[in-house]
């Protein structure tokens, strides 16, 4: 029997597989396809203090082995989440994390404090890396001082596991991760989407309403893997790896690079049942390779 449990500070995952924010709705959308109890955790759609309509259509462009999006954090706000969605999802037999975003520090702090009060939410993922909102979002995540400010402020009001989601759109992601760690993050998750662009040559126009958008999908995996490797060597807190993971083998690669757990994002769109398949596949890999505990794989890259 392979041991698959992953212990993070104040957060125990029954296996290393979580689903990435913005790709899994509130979990309910996938309940027909996946037994949610087979997952280590699910991360809710990005939630802000106030209601956000998001960006205009078109919000998506297909790219080779990936896609760009500029959804722009469409959500009904944290109070709506607490009143309407939380009662429906709080008893899922898995960890339910909320991804929290904001356009200024006060908004992050207020939203995080409201979620701190929810008994069945053991952690938040602080989104300082959304490339699709004009103010805040990625702006906090691309400088050491920005990330320090927001993480420190949220840390004061948030008492459970604080995961900070990092942007890959920086010169040195390890420095940013160190800043998040110093400010009180319990873990870092990476990577959010890579800033990209698509053009319709016939129309001579951008494909996306916001001109630029975030690139995700299988095509970003090598970049994500490299960044997980760099960050895991730099920080002492656990690293959660994501970016293009579409199979159990992809997930194993992230664990070997230094991730303690992983998230599945865009692959959920192509196979809505993929998350549970990856969890099962990780166990099968361990059985095949005589690995008794998944934790043995973390950072197990042979150089």
């Amino acid at each position: 029997m392979v041991k698959t449990e992953i212990k993070l500070k104040g957060l125990t995952l029954k296996n290393p597989v979580m689903t990435a924010s913005g790709t899994f709705g509130y979990g309910e959308e996938y309940a027909d396809f996946v037994d949610l109890s087979e997952l280590g955790g699910i991360i809710m759609k990005g939630t802000t203090l106030h209601h956000r309509e998001g960006n205009p259509y078109p919000r998506m462009a297909e790219t080779p082995m990936g896609m760009l999006n500029c959804v722009g954090l469409q959500n009904k706000g944290v109070d709506y989440f607490i009143k309407t969605i939380y009662p429906r999802i709080r008893h899922f037999d898995t960890n339910v994390l909320v991804n929290v975003s904001g356009s200024n520090i006060d908004d992050y702090v207020t939203a995080a404090a409201k979620i701190d009060a929810l008994d069945d939410i053991p952690a938040i993922e602080l989104n300082v890396s959304c490339p699709n909102v004009k103010q805040g979002g990625m702006a906090f995540g691309v400088t050491c001082s920005g990330i320090e400010q927001v993480v420190k402020a949220v840390r004061e009001v948030y008492h459970k596991h604080l995961m900070v989601k990092l942007s890959p759109n920086v010169t040195n992601i390890a420095e940013i991760a160190l800043a998040a760690e110093a400010a009180g993050a319990d873990s870092v998750s990476l990577i959010n989407t890579l800033l990209g662009m698509a053009i319709d040559a016939e129309a001579r126009k951008p494909v996306l309403s916001m001109v630029t958008g975030g690139l995700s999908g299988a095509c970003v995996k090598p970049v994500a893997l490299r960044m997980v490797w760099q960050v895991s060597k730099a920080v002492k807190i656990p690293v959660i790896g994501l970016g293009g993971i579409s199979s159990a083998t992809d997930a194993i690669e992230f664990l070997l690079a230094g991730a303690s757990a992983i998230q599945i994002g865009t692959a959920n769109f192509i196979d809505p049942a993929i998350s549970a398949k990856v969890a099962k596949g990780i166990t099968e890999y361990c059985e095949k390779h005589g690995v008794e505990d998944v934790n043995e794989l973390v950072g197990g890259l042979i150089l």
């Binding site: 309509e53 959804v71 809505p272």
Partner: protein, 263 residues
């Protein structure tokens, strides 16, 4: 309940820019409503990373088959149209909300433009099945009429299928079949009393039709096809800006009453 099924193509009919695939499932089909759609994985095409949303043209519960009428638009749909009989096709279904069933005494017109004719057949059959064998008092509605429009006669496929469930009126832009012009210009609008319109087709056609329906005070539902990624309401890419804000076409639609839209 939504499910993922590996279908096999058991029959295929090719058209100049489209193909009709009959797909058989080894497991029983879920309940499907007219106007719902499927999300098809495109294997063997490196330009199609995401699934392709395709409307459901017909369903046969006895034989466990669905029919998809697919237009070749870009690389993904071209790959699907080129699949041979015997090929396996991975499909997520059924997705979205279908058309609202008419009530008795309704005189309905199903308007399709181009490949937008596809979902109207199965919906018409479900209405038709409600008419057959019921006395006039309990009929769902008084009859089914189709108004199908194309650029040329080549766009108008499988007319015999439509004629088997209702009267078919036709317009083509070049006059190669039926009346020349757009669906909104057909002479039936002067002679028939229609009180419910169901439409699927190109955006300009549906907008023109919605405007006309609105002016005449006719109840009207349209089926949208905004570009999608997930097909199940998770990614929020396919939104339509409505009177209720941005709504996912895949989950809240694809069928919308025109009064909900900002058209």
């Amino acid at each position: 309940m939504k499910t993922i099924i590996d279908f096999q193509i058991i029959e295929k009919q090719s058209f100049p820019r489209a193909a009709l695939l009959k797909l058989k499932s080894t497991t029983p089909l879920p309940e499907i409503c007219g106007g719902q759609f499927v999300n098809v994985r495109v294997d063997g095409c490196d330009k199609a990373y995401l699934r392709r949303p395709i409307s459901i043209h017909d369903v046969d519960y006895q034989n466990n088959t669905i029919d998809l009428l697919i237009q070749e638009k870009h690389e993904g749909t071209k790959t699907l149209c080129a699949l041979p009989v015997g090929a396996k096709v991975n499909i997520v279904l059924p997705l979205g909300n279908g058309f609202t069933m008419p009530e008795k005494d309704d005189n309905v017109l199903l308007v399709g433009g181009g490949i937008g004719i596809a979902p109207l057949l199965y919906f018409a059959k479900t209405i038709h099945d409600n008419i057959q064998g019921k006395d006039a008092m309990n009929r769902v509605c008084t009859g089914v009429h189709f108004l199908l429009g194309g650029r040329t006669k080549d766009d108008l496929m499988l007319l015999e299928r439509f004629r088997s469930v209702g009267d078919v009126f036709i317009t083509t832009n070049d006059g190669s079949m039926g009346e020349k012009g757009f669906v909104t210009e057909h002479s039936l609008w002067n002679t028939m009393k229609i009180n419910k319109i169901y439409a699927c087709g190109p955006m300009p056609m549906m907008k023109a039709l919605a405007k006309m329906a609105h002016e005449k005070g006719i109840w009207c539902e349209v089926s949208l096809e905004n570009q999608m990624a997930c097909g199940i309401g998770a990614c929020l890419c396919c939104v339509e800006n409505t009177k209720e804000g941005n709504l996912c076409v895949c989950k809240e639609g694809p069928v919308f009453n025109i009064e909900r839209l900002l058209w």
